[in-house]
Amino acid sequence: MNTPVIVTTYTLSSGYLIYFWQKVKKQFNEQSVPKIALLAAFIFVAQMINIPISEGTSGHLLGGFLAASLLGPFASVFLISLVLVVQMFVFQDGGLTALGANILNMGIAGVCGSYLFFKIISKLEAQFFQKNQLILFNIFMSAWLSVEIGAILCGIELGLSGFADWKIVVGLMSGVHAIIGVLEGILTVFIYQAIRHIRPDLIYINQKG
């Protein structure tokens, strides 16, 4: 990444994080902090598990929409950013200069974009169906989209930095992450269903979206 892109991504993500911190502070209480901590630890470990996909590549769970479905968008952005910061400073997964872009792509854009998509698609379906039978499909699509948004943004940022033609980078990134997104979607649906059966009180999103 070149300097303008680094500065822009850092400015944008820190601005958003300060805004979300104001929102999320109100959510913190004796019950919610252990819940958020557990989910953060879970997502951290889940991101370590790379599942092989064809053509010598692999993917892992990002957990952006999973977090949003359990905690709501504000706490999720904060949580994902925290996981990314720990990964970067302790395990050097993603560099210091890329941290701003990572938080922007996977944290802010991925989580908020997919959450908004889920809200909109649920509202639209509510017009046609009495009960929301399609909630699992919506979760799958939102989780897929959360990966895809991050990948496309990352491609654009790499292109803007001038390393390669941005059309090629965006094409490759969105292509490979379209497959990884399917994995993310399936895992998110399974984990959502499991939690819904064991502890339905932990779910944030409801049938109406």
């Binding site: 502070k25 109100k26 959510q27 913190f28 209480n29 004796e30 902090v33 252990p34 958020i36 901590a37 557990l38 953060a40 630890a41 879970f42 951290f44 470990v45 889940a46 370590m48 598990i49 790379n50 599942i51 092989p52 996909i53 053509e55 010598g56 590549t57 692999s58 993917g59 892992h60 925290l82 996981v83 720990v86 990964q87 970067m88 400073f89 302790v90 395990f91 050097q92 997964d93 560099g95 210091l96 200069t97 990948a151 990352c154 491609g155 790499l158 390393f163 390669a164 090629i168 980078v169 490759l172 990134m173 490979v176 992450h177 990884i180 064991i198």
Partner: protein, 104 residues
Amino acid sequence: MERLYQFFRKYWLIVFAFILLIFLTTLSSTHPDGLEWTAQKLGLKEKEIYHSPVADYTISEHFTPMLNQMLSAVLGILIIFTIFWLIKKKFSRYKNNKKMSHAT
């Protein structure tokens, strides 16, 4: 001892899930992930300006990759719990000082 037993009785499922996940990290694929794959295709290189203590989930060169993965997972979980423990501590002080209740 009694408290520990109570803790496990209440949270055995969570403890079990984390132990399972920590073991699962050892099965993690060594294939490059989506971004690394793209970078390889285009011949992009990372430039290192910061070197972290536990780079690439390798705690010690002498350990096997599997042990390194597991220890890294445990270390990461501990770090994240510590951060949230600090947040919780800060939050309770904030709440007591200002006599504000955000509890819903």
